[in-house]
Amino acid sequence: MSIRKSRDWFSPDYQEQERKKGVGHGLHPLDEYLREDRIPHIWCPGCGLGVILNAYLRALKDSEIPPEETAVVSGIGCSGRAAGYVNVDSFHVTHGRAIPFATGLKIGNRDLTTTVFSGDGDLFAIGGNHFIHAARRNVDFNVICVNNFNYGMTGGQAGPTTPSDAKTSTTPWGGFEQPFNLPAVAAGSGAVYVARWTTYHVEKLIESLKEALEKKGFCFIEVLSPCPTGYGRRVGLKTGKKTMKHFKENSEIKPNADPTEVALDPQDPETKIVVGKFVDREAPTYQDERGKVFEEARKKLEVE
């Protein structure tokens, strides 16, 4: 297929004539959840996003939530493109505003199982304020944060999770800011489910995603992902598989660890990447609480 005859024509009728369906659509068991003319996706070879998307779709399929009752919202960035590949109602909104958009969507239609699929910069830099308030309110949706330690789509700039000494395109002399400890931010803001995995731990990730999809309340899963093109190649992890090997050799699974003690500290080479499910508790959701108060109000006003 030559580059000119790709899928970028305006009218899909024209599209149908110009080229055939997406490569091998229908062969893979998860193809029903993928938009057929958007695969292969735009992510680099060695990128972890495909693995996370794979895990998410598998969890969606196994949880048997009907696709008509699912929605995916993502922000801007490589992670933000994920919404475009999932064959459900999907929304690719502005940078950092995936969470308030998902809040409106979920409260507007409570039957939608909503997932926010976005990156570390989108969710915790520009979107940081929205994250902590949604967690505080305990709105019932899931947030998957793909943490690749940089702003990948724009070329590998430093972000709020970039390790403090890393060289990136905006810290060419080395970094000097402390990164966030994302599970601590989430747990501190009130999330009822907090977990961290890496793209190496696929089986655990799938289980965790299933739990989050079925749990009521604000669920947060951080997934560490390779980014060989944006981040990895400047810090000695030139390929995706090298980063995956790094995750494999340097992580340890510690269920129920204290979220404040799981910071990723590159200064100390002995520090392991702590993964696992850290918080899993019950709390009334925003809609439960509001429902109660409004019921009381209606009684006082003597209306139905």
Binding site: H28, G46, V51, A55, G240, M244
Partner: protein, 107 residues
């Protein structure tokens, strides 16, 4: 081979696998592969290796050697949805519908 498999051969390569108590195939949708080698590196028994062939975009898709136990790790770890397992269950089934049911049972 059933009619269905014949048609698919143009887009995917299926390697038949027989283990002690399972039978199935590992299928690679070659044009989706981007040569990241996750499946090759993380197969628990090292049953896959990089092939010499190239796809249209120039990547080397994986090929089967031996020792596969149909665990499904490659399917889960592939970022491109380019490799998947098809199991025939513990007995050889003849109808396609039974295949669909079996597929959901492996972990």
């Amino acid at each position: 081979m059933t009619e269905k498999e014949k048609e698919e051969d143009s887009d995917q390569k299926c390697y038949l696998v027989e283990t002690k108590n399972k039978e199935g195939s590992v299928c690679v949708i070659t044009e989706r592969c981007k040569g990241c080698e996750f499946c090759i590196d993380f197969c628990p028994v090292g049953a896959l290796e990089q092939s010499e062939e190239t796809t249209e975009k120039g990547y080397h898709p994986p090929k089967m050697t031996e020792g596969c136990v149909l665990c499904g790790k490659c399917e889960k770890i592939c970022p491109e949805f380019a490799i998947h397992i098809r199991e025939k269950g513990e007995e050889k089934k003849s109808s396609e519908e039974d295949d669909e049911e079996e597929r959901g049972e492996w972990i």
